[in-house]
């Protein structure tokens, strides 16, 4: 299965110790997770993690566990979403924050991976942006077509 991963990075004019406080503590997360009314983060490997993110009219409940907690470099949590329409993702994805400091500035990389583990039905959020009367069956056909395209591209 081809890994499906989203990678984003940004450079921040602050030392890694400062950035870490925002990224990897519950108190810090509350400040930059706007649209989030509920944050739980137990700051240790195995600790509980939960966010309630609001994209009106929906609320996404994100839950998982801390996988890596290595100050001030690597913080990763498992990430499983749930919303009213789709129910809870049957599998977890993984979000990893990596901080690297140079001359007082910190480059932070977010990798959100493991999407390939989710069944197609849970990826149907893609429909929302362009949908007009799509059915799940049609999405399945679209998947067949897309995979066919991948196979043809590989040939």
């Amino acid at each position: 299965m081809e890994p499906l991963i989203v990678t984003r990075e940004i450079e921040i004019d602050a030392p890694a110790a400062v950035v870490w406080r925002f990224v990897a503590t519950a108190e810090g997360m509350r400040t930059w997770w706007t649209m989030t009314r509920h944050v739980v983060l137990e700051e240790r490997p195995g600790g509980r993690f939960e966010l309630h993110v609001e994209f009106p009219p929906r609320v996404y409940v994100i839950s998982g566990h801390v996988q890596t907690y290595e100050y001030p470099r690597t913080f990763s949590v498992t990430w499983r979403e749930e919303d009213g329409d789709q129910g809870r993702w049957p599998e977890e994805t993984l979000v990893t924050f990596t901080l690297s400091e140079r001359a007082g500035r910190t480059r932070i990389t977010v990798e959100h991976g493991g999407f390939e583990r989710l069944p197609e039905a849970y990826r149907s959020a893609a429909r929302d942006s362009y949908e007009r009367g799509w059915t799940q069956e049609e999405m399945e056909r679209l998947r067949t077509l897309a995979e066919q395209a991948v196979a043809e591209g590989a040939r």
Partner: protein, 127 residues
């Protein structure tokens, strides 16, 4: 002319059925396709094929006097991948918010440090 978006092309149920037909039965002539949609006029079918062609979802192949239409599924990958793109946007926005907050906080901290340092070194300069 700008290439037409595959999103728009597949937003129409008839065009989705044309794509299904080409996937299931392989290349078809315009006439064959029109026969499958008896309730739709020939010109309307031609128009749908044109939209699909402009979105690169079908290719037209001329063979003698006949034109065959063949499915080209490649642009559908783009549509399908849009799911991941939502997360790209999501994380881009989150990181930008993080940057703004951390840097504002850091500026305040540095300013305070500087003024504390100045007063430590030059107590008599204070008003």
């Amino acid at each position: 002319m700008a290439r037409h978006s595959p999103y728009r092309a597949i937003s129409d149920p008839t065009r989705r059925r044309i794509l299904d037909l080409l996937r299931e039965r392989g290349p078809q002539r315009a006439g064959d396709i029109a026969l499958r949609f008896p309730r739709i006029s020939r010109p309307a079918v031609s128009k749908h094929l044109r939209v699909l062609r402009q979105a690169r979802l079908v290719r037209e192949i001329a063979e003698g006097r006949e034109r065959w239409y063949r499915l080209n599924p490649e642009p559908l990958r783009e549509v399908y991948d849009s799911w991941l793109r939502q997360y790209e946007t999501f994380w881009t926005e989150r990181l930008q918010t993080l940057k703004q907050l951390v840097e504002a906080d850091e500026r305040t901290r540095r300013r305070e440090e500087r003024s504390d340092g100045a007063s430590d070194r030059h107590p008599r300069d204070r008003d």
